[in-house]
């Protein structure tokens, strides 16, 4: 694997003679690619100096081209300095890869979400034999943002690595579908008064919030990537029609409630999967507990990026 730092337009150095994807902006960025992984790096940038009141500092979207037919079988985000020192997960607000050549399954008119991560920075590994397919030459977007509130630091890098299946491997294609307690679709934002793009405002103490969820197509969920903020206590997806809790996620927190991550044993990953259908009613709920002495506004999100196969689940063996 090799890499190339980029400015004002960046390219992938695949090391394999593949045409370099382009990253068209002024923020340094690069893409590294080999047979096992494709890594998108943004930065180095100096962060934490913004005076903007918003909680996060979005960077321009970076575009690049898939250098080969890709089958993504997992991914991971992390933040570090250019010198290689790991940084607190609290520096990263989000990092997502979108496919603008496809339409989102959950948000009409929006680009298709492939992978994404926030402060939890979970390493996602789909069940064996399943993956997301991206055709060679597809233009992709990398979207990242750092937190304004992070301690000022220079030379900060965020990296998103997509793990790839070997060429020729037999992989069942996965689709993505996102369910969220807060408004997640910018083409049809219907935010409540206490909601911003940061999520739902959390009052001190206990805050619970539930929303109805529907699935427009029948599917079999194989993997669920959960996204939460500091002070989250629980995220659940339930089938209300059948009175069945389908997903239940309790994050690992510090003593004061800051996010440490999602423990591996809390991550749903199952080749058998569980079904969702258009006819049933579902509910997504999140619980936050914010220390009651906190006066600064806090915002919570609760979402699952669901990786699924279309159609019913296969019968158990």
């Amino acid at each position: 694997m090799s890499s190339a730092a980029c400015a004002d337009g960046a390219g992938v150095d695949s090391g394999e003679g593949v045409e370099a994807p382009q990253l068209l902006n002024r923020i340094p960025a690069s893409v590294r690619f080999d047979a096992t992984a494709l890594t998108v790096t943004v930065g180095p940038v100096d962060i934490g100096q913004e005076a903007d009141a918003a909680a996060h500092a979005p960077l321009p979207a970076f575009s690049f081209v898939a250098p080969a037919d890709l089958t993504i079988v997992g991914y991971r985000v992390h933040v570090r300095t250019r010198q290689g020192s790991p940084l607190s997960r609290a520096y990263l607000h989000h990092f997502s890869i979108l496919d603008p050549t496809r339409s989102s399954t959950f948000c009409e008119g929006a680009p298709y979400l492939l992978v994404g991560s926030g402060v939890e920075q979970t390493e996602a590994r789909f069940p064996a034999g399943y993956g997301l397919r991206v055709k060679k030459g597809t233009g992709l977007l990398a979207v990242a943002a750092f937190y304004h509130g992070a301690a000022p630091s220079s030379d900060v890098l965020a990296e998103l690595t997509m793990f790839l299946a070997p060429q020729g491997a037999h992989i069942e294609p996965l689709d993505t579908y996102l369910v969220s307690v807060t408004s997640d679709c910018y083409t049809r934002y219907v935010r409540t008064a206490d909601e911003t793009e940061e999520g739902a405002r959390l009052r001190p103490g206990i805050a619970t919030r539930s929303v109805a969820v529907t699935f427009p197509f029948e599917a079999c969920i194989k993997y669920a990537y959960s996204h939460l903020h500091d002070f989250a206590a629980l995220l659940t997806l339930s089938n209300q029609s059948r009175r069945h809790t389908l997903l239940r996620t309790v994050p690992d927190l510090t003593l004061d409630g800051k996010m440490r991550g999602i423990p591996h044993y809390q991550i749903y990953s199952d080749r058998g999967g569980f079904p969702v259908i258009p006819e049933d009613r579902y509910e997504l709920s999140m619980i936050y507990y914010t220390p009651i002495q906190m006066s600064a506004p806090r915002y919570g999100m609760g979402m699952y990026i669901l990786y699924l196969t279309r159609g019913p689940c296969p019968p158990p063996p």
Partner: protein, 361 residues
């Protein structure tokens, strides 16, 4: 100030525990206490139980078993072994403890086989529950390893009559030669520590003398937990001023979070999230979720406090479930010390900062 009418309990799934505590109350003063006449080097008793007490260096290990499960029982869920009373070979300071469950050959067993292990000082009265005996250590399913901040310990006198109580789950599958143990770490002989007191608080009613006031639905096992999200709250008051240095958390399956709030000063004092399986069954408490701080935080008889607990029970989970959320608080009486005041400590590092107490050696 009125005594707290809710809270504090001991370890987990209390059913058998409560029955035992009742027995303690009734029988405590008539117990034939551990051989105070026995050799101090061998405090083990040969009561008609499977319980032994071993002193090795600075540890005291109470060992229950081996016993074949399931056992007979005196509660709906727990199968309690006969109570075991003993005395220590010398005055000691308890600085931590750890429960364990295994077969006689040392193979660890699932934590859910254990209902409770309790350590009770029959010679003292509970601070949290007037008229009841003094509970000073214990563990339930969570079996967390407790280590108090350096320099602090629970004082146990040689003359104190201590009682060990253990209960196994009735529904534990047939298993032979099961052993439960509670290993208590003690300060080295001759070292004096700043004494800790023990104070239990909980969302569920913990004082058995208050059981008559329990709300409908609450049982010895705790408060009923329904499917879905459930929030319970309970006011807490303290009968003494104290400085909390360590908080041992205890909760049941499907707990999501529990917390202690200082309502008067609008401050969250303790906040505990469990480690759970994906179905919500309790795995324990991560060390970074256990409060331990030599500086501590104050609680007062004048303050208003509240405990909250949040459960989420899967919608498809059938049958009755009961929830608890308790903290066993280890505290020093009185206000928290000013900055710069050092506790008595067994460590040389601390002793060099505190030459006065070093002389206590």
């Amino acid at each position: 100030m009125e005594p707290r009418d809710r809270g504090r309990l001991a370890p987990r799934h209390l059913k058998g525990t409560v029955a035992l505590l009742r027995l303690i109350l009734i029988l405590g003063h008539t117990y034939s206490f551990a051989d105070s006449s026995r050799s101090q080097s061998d405090p083990s008793l040969t009561t008609p139980t499977h319980t032994t007490v071993e002193v090795s260096g600075d540890t005291v290990t109470v060992r229950f078993g081996p016993i074949d499960l399931p056992t007979g029982h005196d509660g709906d869920l727990a199968a309690s072994l006969p109570k075991h009373v003993f005395q220590l070979p010398r005055d000691m300071y308890l600085t931590g403890y750890k429960a364990a469950l295994f077969t006689e050959d040392g193979t660890p067993l699932p934590r859910e086989y254990l209902h409770h292990i309790l350590m009770i000082n029959l010679s003292r009265e509970s601070l949290a529950c007037p008229g009841e005996v003094y509970f000073f250590a214990g563990a339930g399913l969570e079996m967390s390893e407790a280590t108090f901040p350096s320099g602090y310990g629970v004082e146990l006198k040689q003359s104190d009559r201590l009682m060990a109580v253990v209960g196994f789950y009735h529904e534990a599958p047939p298993t032979t030669k099961v052993v439960a143990s509670l290993t208590m770490q003690m300060a080295p002989a001759g070292v004096r520590l700043t004494p800790l007191e023990v104070y239990h608080i909980g969302v569920n009613t913990g004082c058995y003398t208050k059981f008559a006031d329990r709300p409908a639905g609450e049982t010895d096992e705790g408060l009923p937990v329904h499917q879905g999200i459930q929030v319970n709250r309970a006011p807490i008051s303290f009968r003494i001023d104290g400085c909390v240095k360590y908080a041992y958390p205890h909760a049941h399956d499907h707990v999501v979070l529990f917390a202690l709030e200082d309502v008067t000063h609008r401050r969250t004092l303790l906040r505990t999230s469990p480690m759970v399986n994906r179905d919500g069954s309790l795995m324990g408490f991560a060390p970074h979720q256990v409060f331990q701080d030599s500086s501590g935080f104050p609680v007062t008889t004048q303050g208003q406090y509240e405990m909250i607990m949040i459960h989420h029970r899967p919608l498809q989970d059938q049958g009755s479930r009961f929830g608890m959320a308790n903290y066993i608080l280890y505290l020093t009486p009185g206000p928290c010390p000013q900055d710069g005041v050092q506790p008595r400590d067994v460590s040389d590092n601390h002793l060099t900062k505190d030459p006065v107490h070093a002389l206590d050696r």
